[in-house]
Subunit: 294 residues, 2 copies
């Protein structure tokens, strides 16, 4: 743990673009460090400059290769880049896989490129909350362009990818018929569809199929200006933060419930889940009224 | 909406195994009906008899065909079955795809089989909370065996599949190398791995690869007896329920925050997300102390 003074000093170094400080700050995000509040306070006023792109798609469609190509294109225009590769958090091991980073090695020696894999090791609220914080660290460090690459197309990945200014959904020829695409629920989240590996058989069909689905599928709501989208995003993030903290508190109450008998009452079916939830809710309020809390 | 008397009557019919009542109860779960509390109270004491199996895996590996084969095997032993096919909820359309149900048509006329696709249309807490409630309806209706089939291997799907007594993870030959399997984060959640489409090339390799990964991968914690697992599950569910209700409340506060200026302060970066979360948290408590709530 660092002191508040240390956090302010770390923030200063992050704002100066110090790579080691940026790496350390992101590790703090991963860990859910108690110093994140102080770090956030210092960094937040300096954010909002970077443009963020989210990359999502099934494993194997070539997201990392595409990210690498985007980095190359950005660097050719002298734009500084950060790549945040978000690996699925295993509910047990919690580890990040670094496999994909090998494709990025071509850029490893370029000071204009910052590459980082990320997992949640203790952050309250999981990756959905950790990712935007890490993005803000990179933003504050002066990167012009932040690419967030997620693995898979599950709800968590979708949530992370849509927390970017532009969301790219990557598919590959033969990746699946239209039913599979619709099933993955990604039709509506894409700002841009990328049919990768376009030299493969079936690329033309894939484009045609996507076009057809976009015409016949649900109409997308116009999300408004970038500023409005960002404003909405941070509100949702704060809502999730509060919810995660309250949830932790309720978890503690349930643990104490093993003593008070609530867990036993539930197991023996003397009380049903709805009634138990109402009981706990009243307890959260009672804790508030008695001046408890932290 | 139904009255409390209606809910009690509906519960009675569900307990008698009335298919239409079961279908209606599950629709209420999908909608997040305000009568779920009354329904839950009436049904919960009669649950815990059914054995539940969760089926998960990437789109296209043949989960529905496997579910159909399981139904057949169960029926041959005169075990009554329910199949709950959980389709991904698109964040926008919210619709369920019924495509997979066609594979189930062979069982459609068997009164010992109940098949239902499910989406969340308004349930607070989403599918992770709606699914176990729907399973309890099926359990209470007297089904011996409940199969829950989810689409994909995202966090939400994993959560649903692991809320069953036994979790089957379905893969197909050529589905991906070991890195892809590990990436999907499903190594740790499977009680049973099924290599489907085993007549295809690569099936032996897939089994070998899985075996190797299971030997070298993270050691799995012994989850204890079925009773203990179920007990833990319902506690987690109650925790999620309370969290979802609190979250809704916080959402309301944020909406009011557009008037009080919190949203503007965040957008203008006069307050950072951490500080805003702390402020709202205090407000939840204050609402409790002033006797507010519902």
């Amino acid at each position: 743990m660092v002191t508040r003074v240390d956090a302010a000093n770390l923030a200063k170094r992050v704002l100066g673009g110090d790579r080691r400080a940026v790496a350390r700050a992101i590790s703090m995000v991963e860990d859910g460090s108690s110093d994140l509040a102080a770090l956030s306070e210092a960094l937040y006023p300096k954010t909002g400059r970077a443009y963020t792109v989210g990359l999502t798609g099934s494993p194997g469609v070539g997201k990392s290769s595409l990210a690498s190509a985007l980095v190359e294109a950005a660097r050719a225009r002298e734009v500084t880049v950060a790549v945040l590769a978000i690996d699925p958090t295993s509910p047990f091991s919690g580890g990040a896989l670094l496999g994909d980073r090998v494709r990025m090695q071509a850029h490893a020696t370029d000071p204009g490129v910052f590459i980082r894999s990320m997992a949640t090791r203790g952050h309250l609220g999981g990756m959905a909350l950790a990712a935007p914080e890490a993005i803000r660290v990179l933003d504050a460090s002066g990167r012009d362009f932040v690419i967030v690459e997620t693995v898979g197309v599950g709800q968590a990945e979708v949530e992370i990818a849509t927390a970017a200014d532009t969301t790219l959904v990557v598919v590959a020829p033969g990746w699946g018929d239209s039913v599979q695409v619709a099933k993955a629920g990604i039709l509506e989240i894409a700002d841009v569809f990328v049919v990768n590996k376009a030299d493969r058989e079936g690329a033309t069909e894939a484009v045609r199929e996507l076009n057809l689905m976009l015409r016949t599928g649900p109409k997308l709501a116009w999300t408004g200006t970038l500023q409005r989208k960002r404003r909405q995003r941070v509100l949702e993030e704060v809502e999730s933060m509060v919810a995660a903290r309250l949830r932790q508190e309720v978890g503690g109450m349930l643990d104490r419930g093993s003593e008070t008998g609530l867990a036993g009452d539930l197991a023996e079916r003397r009380i049903d889940p709805y009634a138990a939830a109402t009981l706990l809710l009243e307890q959260v309020r009672a804790d508030g009224s008695s001046g408890r809390g932290r």
